[in-house]
Assembly symmetry: C3
Homo-oligomer: 445 residues x 3
């Protein structure tokens, strides 16, 4: 039984202090009109927000396919379809049970949690289930999409040079073990939640920074693309081949984020909860707007000509920034939090280049840096958050994911190699690894 199901029973005891916990129980209004109706509302809400988050997989795919060069596009498409498929399977084989180890978070429970996810029986009777939460199937469907998101983040950063198969093996480990283990520390009622009062509503740290740390470890071990960094600190720009695709991907992600943050309220059984979800969606939208406009104005000021890919990444950074706490800020505050995310991206992209860390689509600035910012920003609007609790949790999650990911990348490198040959990289991964082209009839310019 999921911990989330038990918590509402005790919610009368926590009342206001529980605000903003989300993803493990945000029940503040304990008089649903009728348990079964509340169950249907919350379950259907998970299904709707779940398909929105699934849609983000398409968003990442289009974003990344638009930001790589022509010759690596088919490979980027392949990686994204494959990683989503792997996440779908690993999460029911291992991830879901591992993430929610059940009644109390103990090592025994965690070890006992390995086992296939089982959904409700077909044609469930009301009497067979606890009606205070939602169907397990809907919860699984929703949570699975978060796990997949983590892997999508990694594929963008490491594009244009990583081999297909080691990448997919990494995805197996990430979605089956790394993501669920650290997610259980917060959302499964683990020690970050219990001991540090860590607040991360929809996953600025638990989802986005995790993808970012895994990407960073990979980027360091993999090294930059050939020709990206010249002598004397020169940076050779390698612009994306198809900006309409990248823009489409950004809009898809923007839309999907309403599900990502809205669904993380976890309940829609009362007027209070549905009003909170409304507030969350409005804040999510305005944070993205803030991030986009901040990047627009800042790149205009810094470079005289505004940069479209920065604006797109600014919007995404705004979304990541508001994800740790989309409920408590006012619309104005949400805009500011998002805008700071956009500013971070504009400065972080050249900063990474200075360090010769080659992140093809800007995933590390967007998901890791803005994710850290968003996690810290919780303290600005949510009185239950402590700066210490937020920082220590950022560090613990970061250290765990970075070290374990680095280890996995290192082993993969030693065992099978993770980088394509120089010849293949120059020629493009599409021909080398797949023997096909994404745009076979379009002449190269």
């Amino acid at each position: 039984m999921k911990l989330t199901k038990l918590l509402p029973l005790a919610a009368g005891l926590v009342a206001l202090p529980a605000l903003g916990f989300a993803q493990e129980a945000a029940e503040v209004d304990m008089t649903p009109p009728n348990a079964e109706i509340g169950y249907i509302f919350t379950t259907f809400m998970f299904l709707v927000t779940g398909f929105l988050v699934m849609w983000m997989a398409a968003g990442f795919t289009m974003l990344e396919a638009g930001l790589v060069r022509q010759k690596n596009t088919a490979m980027q498409l392949m990686k994204n379809v494959a990683l989503f498929s792997i996440a779908a399977i690993m999460y029911y084989l291992i991830g879901y049970n591992l993430m929610y180890p059940g009644d109390g978070w103990t090592i025994t429970n965690v070890l006992g949690a390995f086992g296939w996810t089982s959904l409700e029986p077909v044609g469930l009777a009301d009497t067979e289930t606890d009606l205070t939460y939602a169907s397990v199937g809907s919860d699984f469907f929703f949570q699975l999409m978060f796990c997949a998101t983590t892997a999508s983040i990694v594929s963008g950063a490491l594009a244009e040079r990583i081999k297909l198969w080691p990448f997919l093996i990494f995805v197996v480990v990430l979605t089956g073990l790394i993501y669920p283990i650290q997610a259980s520390w917060k959302w499964g009622g683990g020690f970050l939640d219990a001991n540090f009062g860590f607040l991360d509503f929809a996953g600025s740290t638990v989802v986005h920074s995790v993808g970012g740390w895994a990407a960073l470890a990979g980027a360091l071990i993999l090294g930059p693309r050939i020709g990206k960094y010249g002598k004397g600190g020169s940076v050779h720009p390698m612009p994306g081949a198809n900006l309409p695709l990248a823009t489409l991907g950004t809009f898809i992600l923007w839309m999907g984020w309403f599900g990502f943050n809205g669904g993380s309220q976890l309940y829609m059984d009362t007027a209070g909860n549905v009003a909170d979800i409304s507030r969350i969606m409005a804040n999510t939208n305005t944070a993205a707007a803030g991030g986009a406009l901040a990047a627009l104005i800042l790149t205009k000021v810094l470079y005289r000509k505004p940069d479209l890919t920065m604006v797109l990444n600014g919007a995404l950074a705004g979304l990541v920034s508001i994800t740790a706490e989309p409920l408590t800020p006012s619309l104005g505050m949400a805009t500011v939090i998002g805008a700071i995310g956009g500013v971070i991206v504009v400065f972080a992209v050249p900063f990474l280049d200075k360090l010769k860390i080659d992140d093809v689509v800007g995933a590390i600035p967007v998901h890791l840096f803005a994710g850290i910012w968003g996690t810290i920003a919780v303290v600005l609007t949510n009185g239950d958050a402590s700066l210490f609790g937020q920082l220590i949790s950022i560090v613990i999650v970061g250290a765990f994911v970075f070290v374990v990911s680095g280890l996995v990348w290192f082993i993969l490198k030693a065992v099978m190699g993770i980088r394509v040959s120089e010849e293949e990289e120059v020629q493009g991964l599409d021909i080398g690894e797949l023997g096909m082209e994404a745009y076979p009839e379009f002449a190269k310019g």
Copy 2:
């Protein structure tokens, strides 16, 4: 307090005559099973239809990016992301409160309405709110998307020659002032609603024609693209660079329109209301189909070869046409109303060219001309509409928006210039204004 919240209380008095008012109260069946359940239903309906309307921003972006030429594509993407972001912020800074000036529509109320939108407190208790409508957050989220739509319409018409920054300043005025002021006349309970019995269910006039008038004023002041109109009335075709994108945009808009029209029922708390929403979505779909097929057949007859962009615009014109009254027509009548919209577009595009009004994507035929037609067509199926009330409202809204928009464009032209240099226009706005290309690796044909 929103006027919409008070109206249901009086709905018993109006009953059937209230049919088709929508967007300000279409409550015809006043026995919701339970106030809180009705509140959750209506609120969630706004969130779902709201994200569909938000998705239309992506639809406009793809449509326009597909219909401009390669060299202006990145700029068109930039404008669309930026305008949506600006709308998101202006609407809570000014627009929303201005549009719904509160208990009774008076000058005092309107002036007093300037002020940031404030959503419900976090963790709202049932007793703190009026449960007869929906959460303010969801209403704001939904209405915001309508405001953003207006701006999207303008960007398409003025593409390929307008400067970025004056365009964005215009968007600030349009979404912060022009749109909300005239929308308040109808949906905020203002004089068009009160004195003329104006009916505009989801905004053929209030949204679409407003975008169209603002675009028309801009197109006249801006002038046509270089080389578009030759001597002796010759028109030089400048086909869009990427028709799959334009088609995708059309499908996105078609899908989003289910939210646009369906959500404008404003209530989903009774069987009668949800049946009305169903009827609206079915009618919306068939009107789009009618518009597409009318344009298909008509272009085949007129030009021997059917024209894809006309078919796409025909579908959109069908959607605009049904928007003023998607509820009362039968499926057959909705098809006819949409089909006439499609016919209008096929004749209006060359008509504008004859007048040397250069509308890059056909936004004026689709949103202004079909919007006027749709507003008039309300009298065909809704007995509460009067031809006089519809026409006078079309004229008043049109005059206001055209004059104010024209003034703003004129001031922008005088102060900072609104048109890129001739050299920049020939070279393409992407290089000139942004210093980047949308498809940098694809050879020009």
Copy 3:
């Protein structure tokens, strides 16, 4: 009155044996908390799942536009917009009433069923309607999208050589007559349902194989593209021009399928029903994942380099395979059923080529072959299915659709010709039939 509305009244009698019937009644838990609330839940569920299935029309369009060659892309876009529009109109003119012939399925009822669909009156009162099911408008909206899907399948297989107008006439017959007649045999309570206990939850046979059979008949009569098959059995590959579009289309279809299968539960008025919908969506997702990964691994093993279009079609085949029974399998079993669908596609594509049946996008392997597999696979997890009942229904539906479609194609060929001229085919249908190009500014490679 729809048969579906009557069945719940008798559902107490059937209880568990009714499992998995779906699309004609899957009510297993007959204590909805309140009839009107249940009506609102189910109706809104149809609207949400209905717009998801409508979105699949965009998915097919992008998939097919990405898999044809540049020179035929605009035509493929045109066909898809037009076929969806035709389906929208034919289904209310004839299809819907024909498919649900009313109280008891008799020849008289069927003949009497010709007549326009009429939706509920505007502002329906609770007392005017049966609250045990959903609004007619929502049911019509949802079922219409299934009808349109059938036509989308055909357009892909016959791409790059079929004339526009005969294709559209075929669509008129398919969506107005062929699809609804055979669908009534199962979902309208006809003889396949009554006499053979045929189970097809969301339409592996009723929708997907029907599209597949119609496409097969067309492909045989139309013949392969010029140059596709050389002497001595050589096959000339004609790769799709835009794989990002094809991948986008696949993701759209994947997302839309949650509506396709989830909505086919037909009820969301109880905890049991919403839990079933959750289970269905989770299974649908994992079956797609299984199909994609199976195709990925198998093409790697067979051809050394994995094939992206096979992976995309593998995912779609996984979706088709689970469609006949997405409810009763476990997550693991759903993955296996989907994976076998993926394997079928990898072998079926070269098999069709050996027979010189030219299916441009792989629609016949995906929708017909995987559809047959999925229909048979029902017996693996649903005890109410019999192998005989499934096989005889596959054969009856297949024979009917193949023969009637073949007849229609044959008549069209005789009367007006169905194939463009050799010159036009070589030059591309876009120029020949439409006089325009999909990518006019991109140089050919």
